[in-house]
Symmetry: C2
Subunit: 207 residues, 2 copies
């Protein structure tokens, strides 16, 4: 399966809703194809310990495993890759120090998308498609902005930002490769069920 | 010059007192032999940008350059090494993902010191020798605890924690390889002068 296909349903952890291990277990049971561990302001040792558990779980389900921002933690837990945004390590520098990691770039404009592709990112997280409060550093791009990116770049695009079960079809229609979700899954009362339902809708479009 | 000799006067940045670049410039002019960049809760990109400037400065003065906690930042800025404590990445894991970095282990007991040496640390930061508020995670070890460590381990020992111009002789008498300082230098009105004076006292003992 290609990277593009494995990015279909990308679930990002958020401990403000739920702990990482129970989130990921349920999301994998529900059909998540990629997981991103996103932890802010925790000690490195805690990130490494949780990351090792998530690596084990994602391996069991054949899912991709990414770490937000922290290249050191990604290397230490043998993650598939790292996700970096404008405040994180530049893509080219990540490539230099960790040549074997997949690199996802979080971009919030067409210009950032083009630059990340030029810099060698393996895929893009593009948003915010809808207004969101979950990621404080995310800027609003909108559906029109996303369409422009999709018309311009060649690497896989995962849409992110305020996507839920009600509005996800509007995003899928544009031809994205994957949907990244935080609150509509991690904040749902039943994470597995919310993932199953999201996966079902995505599969209608991506086949 | 051996690692042991290059650890003689080890200055740790603290932006609560002063920004990293002006601190390090002045400390190097005053004779610091090793610098540790210690930044908590700043974006990775900011750490990388500042780290590159400190790497350049330390190179100009022939000083060692360490990064606190962040192996990814240490690799990205081509630091000589990284300093890890009980909440950071374990020493053996650092060695695996970054075999070319020097590893300093922050230890707060004889048991931790022995374990860090066994795990392959290149040197130890041992403390707190005196009570301190600068490092929230530092536990009090005292001069007697430091003496026990010095009698037990073979790798270089840098003493840390509440050391200033008044009490440093008590520490040097025990036979440490280096003195690590935060507030007595970074918090001094004149960083260069405070470093010169500390270096002069250290050289009286270490020759
Ligand atoms: Ni980030």
């Amino acid at each position: 399966m290609s990277l593009r296909e494995r990015l279909r349903l990308y679930v990002i952890t958020d401990r403000r809703f739920r702990d990482e291990v129970s989130t990921v277990q349920a999301a994998l049971e529900g059909g998540a194809t990629a997981i991103q561990m996103r932890i802010k302001d925790a000690p490195t040792r805690e990130m490494v310990e949780i990351g090792k558990r998530l690596r084990k779980l994602t391996d069991e389900y054949g899912a991709l495993f990414f770490v937000d921002d922290r290249v050191d933690v990604a290397l230490a837990v043998n993650a598939d890759g790292v996700q970096v945004g404008p405040d994180d390590m530049p893509v080219q520098l990540v490539r230099e120090i960790a040549p074997n990691l997949l690199i996802g770039a979080s971009v919030y404009s067409l210009e950032e998308a083009m630059k990340a592709e030029r810099d060698g990112a393996d895929y893009l997280g593009v948003g915010a498609v809808f207004p969101t409060k979950t990621k404080a550093d995310a800027r609003y791009l909108g559906l029109d902005g996303l369409r422009e990116v999709l018309e311009t770049v060649k690497i896989p695009v995962v849409a992110i930002g305020g996507i839920n079960h009600e509005n996800v079809r509007e995003v899928l229609r544009l031809g994205v490769d994957g949907i990244a979700v935080i609150s509509a899954i991690v904040g749902a009362p039943d994470v597995k069920r919310a993932t199953l339902e999201m996966r079902r809708i995505i599969d209608e479009y991506l086949g």
